[in-house]
Amino acid sequence: MLNRIFRYSVGLGLAFGLVGILFVVSCKKAPQQAPPATPKKSDAPKAETAAPAAKPAPAAPKADANAPAASAEEKHPDGWELIPLTLPKPMFVGTPQSFQGVTNLEKPLGKPRATFYAPKGTVNLAAGKAVKSSDEEPIIGEIEMITDGDKEAADGSYVELGPLLQHITIDLGSPCEIYAIILWHYHKQARVYFDTIVQVADDPDFINNVRTVFNNDDDNSSGLGTGSEMNYVETSEGKLIDAKGVRARYVRCYSRGNSSNDLNNYIEVEVFGKAVQ
């Protein structure tokens, strides 16, 4: 048995020695450098396998995917950001019941709406700007309330215009590139406002270069064209409209009554963009 133990121990020693020699011989002298930080598990698993070549986007010519965009910092000196929105207090909770007689109605999101990305320096161009209305004597409130920054649904925060098709027009003061428009009609209770149409133009009379950025008049009852957007229930979040970066000075919002009565209401309109240099 002792012989067996002795031979086994020699074998063990040889095993250690053999492996040790292999490692000493195969080790190259590396230049002195600081030891790497202990890698966290989140480090990229590149070493085992690397990604094969990327599939190019077939619809457009492929740039060299490995080269960074040339002079990226020079071309885009401005930063870009998620635009934070200050929203009013919600006045009702839960999912509103179905609205009788309202067709083509968008179902509630059930969660807060996402905000949007825009260039740094994007501001609410409509804040404090002059507003005109098709109804020169509103039933409740003053037209200026529409761009006063107060988005609450409390009494004294909204304007009430007469029945049938009415509109309000905001003069931004100069041509602007408009990325988004947010519209609050009235959100003290759940309502749907009909024939909501938003247009932009270069002149206050909306004759030149009129462009429609939102239209949910699906039967063209307002005579401004048939819209493809859906009816929606007013909430404290307002209606976010993609203005596609149109350039215009004037913004006009139409509506034709609502699910509760024939009147038209506005709490606030915000127009996000940048003045054109």
């Binding site: 599939k55 995917a65 965009a69 990226a72 950001e81 905000t115």
Partner: protein, 525 residues
């Protein structure tokens, strides 16, 4: 074959399969798995495989997966599922569970049943049996070579020589680290000869040796040449070792200390819950190792085989521990040796116990710890499968990849072009895997390391936060006024590709509105 023996085989096979087979799509695909899947997709669709001496390892994984795809009738990469891929390592994993039973004559039935049972329930073995990488195949072929080599030594039969060569060739065709196993086997053979005598090289017939080597070379060459369509692949399979020697010592990304593997096996403190440990196996292996050395003869064991396994395991453990480059799945090779020794160790302990009562107590203790191993195996694979507390989860994607895939699918449902919808994925250094796997059904996905000014923005963009400024600039400045889409976040919360590796999604508001309408109406195309 006795009834007891049959029941034992059924139990270990059943355990092994039951732990490995269910819910193969549960765990997110690791980046490495997704890359192998992509490579396999090329083989499946285009019958194209070329060995890359710098990456991706050997071809056996790809070619064996053809069998699974053939059985399932899948002909496209997009048609593959996690099951089609991961069933291959599962199959080899179950084989590894059963193979020790072939050594019943040499090591005794109890020892091999214990070894097979430990293989079946080892969390490491179960976890990596469900991983679409080469490791389980390598372990299986390595053990096949040891088994066949042992049989050859017993019987000096040409068939066993050929089988040994076959398995050696398959090892080489699987992963470059096979040379560690080759070296360990040779060293163990020499050391066994030194300490215990027995068969020497002179006893091997030259014709049998030539046949074995020929078989090994033929099998390896067949795979590396992509079945004779790429002869250069054979040369590359040898040239690759310069890459791997360099990587072993000079790739800091996966450098770990010498005790890394032992720590993984012995004790890992979880942030919550019980620690992870397979110490039972390591301790029993140590018992088996010592027993091989000090006992003149263990009844029922082929002493030389036990000594061979002991030296083989030791040399392999030393080699892997000393190599700075380490990833957890690399421990399987030497850990398998430990499991075989553990089977022997368990039997030795029971035999040397002085009284029946002591044996019963030891038996109960071993059983209880075995149950703990089983529980760990279940938790590691069906609960904490993507949790960084799990020691076998390494640089692993989070479950958020499922959310990314789901959101992109919903966007495609809402987009008029559906699976042809353009998608851009922009991550520096190509750090977007495994997204190509989850977006494999989409025909129009571009993967970029940075924002390109030549490419029009897609309706859906997924990107690393560090390129966000350039992306948003591109989204808005690239289009004419009146045609600039408003972009909103695609995800409702912060999304991580891997822990601390955030990804962001951008989608046009128009598309998001359409997605939300479809979702609210429950109407999907």
């Amino acid at each position: 074959m006795t009834k007891k023996w049959c029941i034992s085989i059924l139990i270990v096979a059943g355990l092994g399969a039951a732990l490995r087979l269910p819910k193969l799509d549960l765990r997110p695909m690791h980046g490495d798995e997704a890359v192998h899947a992509y490579k396999f997709g090329q083989l499946l669709e285009q019958n194209y495989y070329r060995y890359d001496s710098h990456e991706f390892h050997g071809p056996t994984l790809n070619y064996f997966t053809l069998i699974s795809a053939w059985f399932a009738g899948v002909k496209t990469y997009a048609g593959l599922t996690e099951f089609h891929l991961r069933i291959i390592p599962v199959f080899f994993g179950v084989l590894v569970v059963l193979m020790p039973l072939l050594l019943a004559g040499a090591l005794g039935k109890r020892a091999v049943v214990i070894a097979a049972g430990l293989t079946a329930i080892s969390p490491a073995f179960v976890f990596y049996s469900r991983y679409y990488i080469q490791e389980m195949l390598l372990v299986c072929f390595t053990f096949g070579a040891i088994l066949s080599g042992y049989r050859y030594i017993q019987r000096k039969n040409l068939v066993w020589a050929l089988l040994t060569g076959l398995f050696l060739g398959l090892m080489h065709a699987t992963k470059e680290t096979c040379i560690i196993a080759y070296g360990s086997m040779l060293a163990a053979f020499a050391l066994t000869r030194l300490t215990a005598g027995g068969c020497s090289v002179k006893d091997v017939k030259l014709s049998h040796l030539a046949a074995a080597l020929g078989a090994a070379v033929a099998v390896s060459a067949l795979f590396y040449s992509s079945f004779l369509t790429n002869p250069a692949g054979v040369v590359d399979s040898l040239r690759t070792y310069s890459t791997y020697f360099n990587r072993a010592g000079h790739n800091a990304l996966h450098n770990h200390p010498w005790y890394y593997y032992l720590k993984l096996l012995l004790y890992n403190k979880a942030v919550t819950g019980a620690p992870w440990t397979e110490a039972l196996i390591v301790i029993l292996a140590a018992v088996g190792f010592v027993a091989a050395g000090i006992r003149n003869r263990i009844a029922g064991f082929d002493q030389r085989l036990v000594i061979f396994l002991a030296f083989y395991t030791l040399v392999m453990t030393l080699c892997y521990s000393l190599i700075p480059y380490k990833t957890p799945w690399c421990l399987l090779g030497f850990f398998h040796g430990m499991i075989l020794l553990a089977g022997i160790g368990a039997v030795v302990i029971m035999r040397i116990a002085p009284k029946m009562l002591v044996r019963v107590i030891i038996g109960i203790f071993l059983f209880v710890v075995g149950i703990d191993l089983l529980l760990q195996a279940f938790l590691a694979n069906y609960v904490s499968y993507a949790d960084h507390n799990n020691p076998y989860v390494y640089a692993h994607p989070t479950r958020d990849v499922f959310l990314i895939a789901q959101q992109v699918e919903e966007a495609a449902d809402a987009h008029r072009e559906h699976y042809r919808m353009p998608i851009q994925v922009i991550c520096p250094n190509g750090d977007y895997w495994p997204l190509p796997w989850y977006l494999r059904r989409f025909n129009n996905v571009g993967y970029w390391n940075d924002v390109s000014d030549n490419i029009a923005p897609s309706p859906v963009v997924i990107a690393a936060p560090q390129v966000e400024q350039r992306i948003i600039a591109r989204l808005y400045e690239g289009a004419a006024p009146g045609q600039k889409n408003l972009y909103v976040p695609l995800f409702d919360r912060t999304i991580y590709l891997r822990p601390e590796i955030e990804l962001r999604g951008y989608v046009t508001k128009d598309l998001l509105d359409q997605m939300q309408r479809l979702s609210a109406s429950g109407d999907k195309r």
